[in-house]
């Protein structure tokens, strides 16, 4: 699971009003190189909730991202490289995503988050 995906997932347990962002419990983290596409990064930048993204990257052992950002950073090759790496190349392979309100754990196994709810959570 990429951090881009983490940034798009919420806990939707019945009664939870703010299920984003999910906390990460990191087990196994892997890195897989992919080609960088500047257009894609510029497009996706505005859709990323930055603080949760920085926190998630730190949890997975990557602390090179700036705490605060503005669109002018997208002209910096150095920033784009780091953004690309954190967004698409770091994968949570084993671990869990934790609902910020209830503490319910959603397991991540073989890189696949299991967001299925139990009957009493729907």
């Amino acid at each position: 699971m990429r951090l881009l995906t983490h940034n798009m997932l919420s806990s939707n347990i019945k009664g939870v009003t703010d299920g984003f962002p999910l906390k990460i419990e990191a087990g196994k983290v892997v890195e897989k190189e992919v080609d960088m596409n500047t257009d894609f990064l510029k497009n996706i930048f505005t859709k990323i909730e930055w603080k949760p993204f920085v926190e998630a990257a730190k949890t997975l052992g990557y602390s090179e991202l700036p705490e605060d950002v503005d669109p002018s950073l997208l002209d910096s090759q150095d920033f784009l490289t780091k953004f690309h790496h954190a967004l698409l190349e770091i994968h949570l392979e084993e671990g869990a995503l934790v609902c910020p309100e209830t503490g319910r754990k959603f397991p991540v196994s073989k890189g696949i988050p299991n967001m299925l709810l139990h009957e009493d959570e729907v």
Binding site: N37, F40, I44, L116
Partner: protein, 253 residues
Amino acid sequence: MTPKIADIRLVASHPEVYEPCDDSFALVDALLADRMNLLQLEPKMCLEIGCGSGYVITSLALILEQDTNSSVHCFATDINPDAVEVTSATLKAHGVHAEVMNMDIASALEDRLSGLVDVVVVNPPYVPTPEDEVGAGGIVAAWAGGEDGRSVIDRILPVADKLLSEKGWLYMLTLAANKPSELCGLMRKKGYASKIIVQRSTEEESLHVIKFWRDPDSEVQIKKTMANRGSPTSIFSRLSRLSFSGHGNANSK
């Protein structure tokens, strides 16, 4: 050059996961038929709901990968825990990537991905079955569609509407028993135009792949019609027919 799609010999399998069949092939044929439009759309985010074996999302990723200028991020969900693993293996065997997740429809993505998805593809559980078979789990979830095969389809349509970006497209496979013209009418009320892009009859079933896209005119038209004439019911049936016959050219983008 023949466009690349998933190689059936590389598709992973599992006793509890639906194998690619006529419906899957029809959906991929539809994506191939619409390939030039898809490449021009330059989608940034794509999602398959109910990815099963991974045949369709792998094909979509391969089709889009051939346009070297664009970069696309694919998501795939399935309610069946075995299916997401099989999809993951199928993607890997083809050297493409999609983010695979185990969930009901797109439940954990709906909030954050709202309005961000440019292409949604769905081969839903469309077979008419007793209602209690819907959501029974395992491979049954791949086909059990309840009354008219519509139970899950009717839950997917509002989700697709929520997730699709302004320029977004939905490709959905349906069976004649699902009343596709009624589905087009339902989507028209939400402001979507529609077009059948693949039609296929096999010995057992008659399949359609319908493409939906946002059409500001259809919304205006509906409001006008509602204001000017009769009851919503009569408009509904008329629009259902319209969506099949009258808008074939609206998609010549």
